[in-house]
Symmetry: C2
Subunit: 867 residues, 2 copies
């Protein structure tokens, strides 16, 4: 087993054993870039260290020393002593980047002897003591674990005494004294003096880096990022170059493109007369890389040249570290740079245009999460601290004044006020208010509460389940955990991507109408494996969906059409009627609205498919809440308030989710299904007169049984046939069903005999398979996650074992009866990466998600083919 590789022995593919940094140092060496020579001790040596009870095996020590000897030979220097003393940097580097989590020691090899020799050689006493004091502190900190602050305080003391602010204002005498004081501090803590033997320094430093793999912050970082604990870190030993020799030396970091915007232009910063650590430490303000062009154009061009080589070679934006030693440029590190989602998209699209990468590669460069977040506004950089944190229910950021009812939000909007809707929980009648709000904050409910689902559907930022706030809707106040109280009209900021809530206002970056995105989404179509349809209830939603490239509408929820102020009154009269005649009369009032809704929707989407789901929620969701509304309604129905309250209370249910809803309404009130069928067929007839053909897919919700489905289908067919006869036209349509109850899954073969398509309603299917009410499960799901009982929120990612196995049963038995049955999914899962992959695996033809989740879904659909 080989444990140590010279930089010229490795390459960028060897990340697993050399770590990311080591592999890239080797690759840069191969590319003949000016990389200070060195070698890498492998991750396997690190694992061996742990297996060997925390000590480096003899044969590995031997291999290290052998490589050290070669390094001495090729640099013509000797480690830590002799005429030309060799100094080293010792840096960690794990296979998966964990920036800042592990340790680094620079200037290794300094001791009394080499310090003297170097002063003689460089005639730069200040530089040598500057390096020495840095080394002593790093060694004490990293190898021995002594408190770094003791050293920092001493440095501060020197600066104070001399009345200066910057380290660079200390002179050689100061630094010499400081170094001596550091040695004393070390000795007083350690009991014996600072080690002067360079080899001992080196081996201790290597051990310390190995150990840093298991320091607390590294373990936490790995846990947070799902990085396995058994990878280990490599250690890179490199001959030092010095940015702190003087004013023609320096250190810097730079990106080949702007990591924030993606603009193709070097972006970075540097400091002269500094070592790398100073650039990030923020002691002095670094200069923009652009200014290097003015002060040293040759060097700048040289760097630009190297950067270009690296980007072309790696075919990705690079994040590089460099040092200038007395006018000579050295490359110390390169890696693929982190970037914002916007930048990631622009870079991927630009690189395709530059023929640097293929469309396939571009598609694989972005994550669904990145693509989603591009559509939402975000905060600019800020340093505010959140006052509390809820569930990140709908991504994006929002700033506005708080209001406690949908009506107040609408009124505020009319006055040009940006409003945040605050509710204990939202209900369908809040929809108009939610539409007008910048963001939504709820006290109750999780990722799939009403507020969350509707907000994501609308692309409105939402923080839900903020259980430690008290919202008092009567006094219109919010009370935070610190007892601070906000009144109506005061301003808060919400981060729907993190769940954070801030007092006051944080400036926003608005989302772009992004050409890169649209072009990118077009590319995904070339590789798509599963169609992506949209959940869209309005013409506006449909336009957005079409623009983002949805293959039609997979779910139009007709109930949302009734909440509009112009309709809700008729709808309420209908549901509170006690006779068929009355109900039919009020449905007749609704028919023109519903017909127009469908007309607009169909016209927008044609010739793509539109799946229309019939009225689904329990009727009580539509009931009036305020006394005023009730009185108005009672007058209009010509009943007294007692009767009104009785009728309202008769619609109350214990478990509305499992109550009188879905196609159960079609069975008990066929007149509703008749009206909806009329609206659909009549809309199709109007379009036919404009030569627009559409084949609506009528979807019956909550089916439990074949017979039940057939009863409803007959209502639809009879109604449609009558209208078609009356108009002497033929409209093509299909009637299918949602599969959202466990019983429908196990009887899917029977149901498929009658139903022409299936769409899995995985929200309800998840609720019923688990017996988890999505509005109530927030209370215990958190505990389930903490106790590792469940890994993923099943309302976010399809539970493949339970829910998924019911879906598989349904598909397999249904296909035996109707081999070409169209199969889709229209739950919230349709926007989730893992779930989409699962849907493709089990043979679904499309996923249907809210418009703002289409980009991510299309990306996943294409990535499935490319991964």
């Amino acid at each position: 087993m080989k444990y140590v590789y010279s930089f010229n022995e490795g390459n960028k593919e060897m990340k697993n054993i050399l770590g990311g940094k080591g592999a890239n140092l080797a690759e840069m060496t191969k590319l003949n870039l000016p990389v200070p020579e060195g070698f890498t001790i492998t991750t396997e040596a690190c694992l061996s260290y742990y297996h060997n009870e925390g000590s480096i095996k003899k044969e590995i020590v031997a291999e290290i020393l052998e490589h050290l000897k070669k390094l001495e030979q090729s640099t013509g220097k000797t480690f830590g002593h002799g005429k030309r003393p060799l100094l080293l940097s010792v840096r960690s580097g794990s296979p998966i980047s964990m920036p800042g989590m592990m340790d680094t020691i620079l200037n290794l090899g300094l001791n009394e002897e080499s310090v003297k020799t170097l002063i003689d050689l460089t005639q730069n006493k200040r530089f040598v003591y500057d390096s020495y004091r840095r080394f002593i502190m790093m060694y004490a900190d990293v190898v021995k674990g002594y408190d770094r602050n003791v050293f920092e305080l001493k440095l501060e003391e020197y600066k104070k005494r001399k009345n200066v602010k910057k380290d660079t204002e200390l002179d050689e005498i100061d630094l010499e004294n400081l170094s001596k004081e550091y040695l004393k501090i070390y000795e007083s803590q350690n009991g014996s003096p600072f080690p002067s033997d360079p080899t001992r320094q080196l081996l201790e430093a290597i051990s310390a880096v190995f150990r840093s793999w298991n320091n607390d912050r590294a373990i936490y970082y790995r846990k947070m990022n799902n990085i396995p604990d058994n990878l280990g870190t490599a250690v890179n030993i490199q001959s030092m170059v010095f940015g702190n020799i003087g004013s023609n030396s320096g250190s810097g970091v730079a990106f080949t493109r702007n990591p924030s915007t993606g603009e193709k232009k070097l972006y970075g910063e540097y400091l002269m007369n500094a070592q790398g650590e100073d650039v990030v430490a923020g002691i002095r303000t670094p200069l923009s890389i652009d200014s290097l062009y003015q002060t040293n154009p040759t060097l700048f061009k040289q760097f630009e040249y190297y950067a270009n080589i690296l980007e072309t070679h790696y075919k990705d934006m690079q994040d590089m570290e460099f040092t200038i030693e007395e006018g000579k440029l050295y490359m110390l590190q390169t890696r693929n740079g982190k970037r914002t989602p916007e930048a990631a998209l622009k870079i991927a699209v630009d690189m395709v245009h530059e023929n640097l990468i293929t469309k396939k590669e571009a598609i694989l460069r972005l994550t669904p999460k990145e693509l989603s977040s591009i559509l939402h506004p975000t905060f600019i950089m800020h340093d505010k601290t959140a006052i509390t944190k809820g569930i990140p229910a709908s991504p994006g950021a929002a700033v506005g004044q708080i209001y406690f009812t949908a009506k107040d939000v609408i009124d505020a909007k009319k006055q040009g006020i940006k409003a945040i809707l605050v509710r204990t929980e939202t209900s369908p009648e809040d929809i108009e208010g939610m539409h007008h709000a910048e963001g939504i904050l709820t006290i109750r409910g999780g990722m799939t509460s009403h507020a969350a689902v509707v907000a994501r559907g609308m692309g409105v930022c939402c923080v839900s389940g903020c259980e430690n706030i008290i919202a008092d809707e009567t006094t219109k106040t919010l009370q935070f955990p610190n007892n601070q109280i906000l009144k109506e009209g005061q301003t808060i900021s919400l981060n729907g991507t993190t769940g954070e809530v801030f007092l006051g206002s944080i400036p926003l970056k608005e989302s772009l109408d992004n050409d890169n995105l649209l072009e990118f989404l077009n590319w995904t179509d070339e590789f798509k494996t599963i169609e992506v349809r949209a959940n869209a209830d309005t013409e506006k939603d449909a336009i957005t969906a079409k623009k983002l490239g949805a293959s039609g509408i997979g779910l139009c929820r007709t109930e949302h059409m009734f909440f509009d102020t112009s309709r809700i009154f008729s709808f309420r009269k209908m549901i509170l009627s006690v006779s068929l005649e009355e109900r039919v009369k009020y449905l007749q009032e609704l028919l023109p609205y519903q017909r127009e809704d469908f007309y607009k929707l169909f016209k927008t989407v044609a010739p793509e498919a539109v799946v229309i789901r019939y009225l689904d929620p329990p009727l009580h969701e539509f009931l009036p809440k305020t006394l005023e509304e009730k009185e108005q309604l009672a007058r209009s129905l010509n009943i007294n308030m007692d009767t009104m309250e009785e009728r309202i209370s008769s619609l109350k249910e214990f478990n509305p989710m499992m109550g009188h809803r879905g196609c159960r309404l079609c069975i008990t009130y066929p007149e509703i299904a008749i009206m909806q069928t009329k609206a659909i067929i009549e809309a199709c007839i109007l379009l036919l007169q404009e030569n627009i053909a559409i084949k609506p897919e009528i979807m019956i919700p909550l089916t439990v049984d074949q017979k039940e489905f057939e009863v409803v289908k007959k209502i639809v067919d009879d109604t449609a046939n009558k209208i078609m006869r009356d108009h002497q036209v033929k409209i093509e349509y299909v009637v299918g069903t949602m599969i959202e109850l466990p019983r429908a899954c196990v009887l899917a073969d029977k149901i498929a005999e009658s139903a022409e398509f299936f769409s899995f309603g995985t929200n309800d299917l998840t609720q019923l398979t688990y017996g988890f009410s999505r509005d109530d499960s927030g209370k215990f799901l958190e505990e389930y996650k903490n106790k590792n009982i469940i890994e993923n929120d099943p309302f976010k990612t399809i539970d493949q074992n339970g829910v998924g196995s019911l879906m598989k049963v349904a598909i397999s038995i249904a296909k035996k009866v109707r081999p070409n049955i169209s199969l889709g999914v229209c739950g919230e899962h349709a926007g989730d990466e893992q779930s989409i992959i699962f849907c493709k695996e089990i043979g679904l033809h499309y996923v249907s998600c809210s418009p703002y989740r289409i980009p991510a879904a299309k990306l996943v659909s294409a990535q499935i083919a490319l991964k």
Copy 2:
């Protein structure tokens, strides 16, 4: 094909073609009982009549006439004319008894000629005209469909004119005139005169009986009783014997044993000088069969002798018709008699003791429904009309004064008042009141609403879902559909077996502590195929269960133990606590109670098994409702009322059925499971000191996942191990789970790796598989039944296609992992016949039902083996 059988050609096994009556006439003929001669036209002739467009085929007519000729020869009479005219009765008789549904014509063959001859022969003009007027009316009614009332009115007119009350007070002249008037009425309606040709009379009468198979009331009866429509009726042609010749003639009906009590003693009634129809018509009051012994002991003994032959031959209680013609006894019909459940049980047990039937036969004689009803009080015969009708939620009958709260019922009980609890719906806190009520009436809820389930569990009569009553709990009034209003304290009667509600009081027959039942139940054990355990939460339940022969307790619902007034206060303090310390403190208060509960329960049931389910319902079910309770609780918790209301409201759930309940409570509040485990194990230790060993089966409710189960099991095991260590004893116990969520079914193999037994909770499994909330589905399930979408209420009878198929999956995969896993069911279905058969089929080891359903379940368990 042979279409006509003489009575001496058939036997009792030939019911399918001869009908019940025909087959039994043939059998009696075979037994040499005095049966007037005759023949039977088969059901196939009836079917042929329908296939032949409503006319009798020539070959069948020929066969009938041939048998008629033989009948003339053997009786020495000629049909409808000649010196000794033969008269006939024509009676229907289908393979399955449909009493009174189809038609009969007596005295057929009378015409001017035979009337004269008969007067000469009998010298009894009155008898002949009595027979003639009866015949004309029956023929007009049955064959022609003329309104019988026209004839009846004419008869009344005669009696009025003569100022008499009884038909028998009319003399021969009256009857002769009446006959002539009848002939006129007939002719005026028919246009042509009454047919005098006897053969024509006969064939028309036969056709009419065939047609009566499809009269409205017969069709309705078949629908109600699930009798196939394609059986057809046979027609029995029999030479007339006359009970109306004079005072030494008569007709009667009798049972071999008392059909109401089962007492072994002839039971029946008769009328002298009457035809059979008069006995049932109620014109004169019939005499008890006992009085025949006084007036004519020889005849009585002869009849008793025949009755005994028949019962011994049929091995069942017989229902017989007889006629005495001038002192000679004729047997006209026998069949197995209908009887009350009490009589059925006593007769079956007695016949085993008499060695008339075997235990197997006895077990097959009773239906589960009969056996169930024996335990409940019933109304005596009454003629009250129900004021409204709800769902028959828990069988039995109850009379009492109405009260609107559980507390008022309890107070009334203390004053010795029999109370009926009236609630819009009941909740667990009403349990104590339900226990003290004679019966329960609810406005909402179906067969498996809280009220229904608890009432059946307690054996208390309950009518639920009486939606057309308005119960106002504030004014304490009930308003009925006819707007009649009842106040607190007024009396109603409930029939929980039919769902009827009556105003005022109806006398009750109390259920017996029935030795026959206990003996009978013992016999079922010899043939049992599946064990029957009891759902029992209290010592009292357990005693009942043990007495009725339950094989242990299959479900002890621990939550019911907390509703007792002595405990609910501590329990409420516990659930409203916000800190672990507080909760533990209040749980500590509950521990002694719970330990004592288990101690008593175990002691009663040992050495049989006891399955204890851990706390299951959502906590808000336990919350205080009245202001007084809340204030008391707030004082005790030292919090103000705002805080109290906040805590109460934080427990509110949208869909509590799918909320924070079941083992989710064990995950979030492990301290509750710890307390329950302590109570169980400590109770076992106490019993061990008395040398009573019990192996409790600890059942975790609402499991969705193996990991979840393991977390809870660990809490149980850790707690138990600690106590056992502390006491230095070893208590055997097992930990299993309910399978009541669809996810648990499809992941049953994983769960079975950790769970030691399964009990299917088919109530919740049905709710979740269908997405039907059992508290809300009443609203639409009725409509589903009306539209034939569902056949059976899935909460009453297991839905084998949907729920059943999930159960089968669970069993099949679980057995692969744990082949000997104990499998039971503890939902409401455990008391339903079809469901028990299904449970046996799919391999369950036991069903666990409420104590009052044990007899029926044990019966089914045995019948499975015997059928």
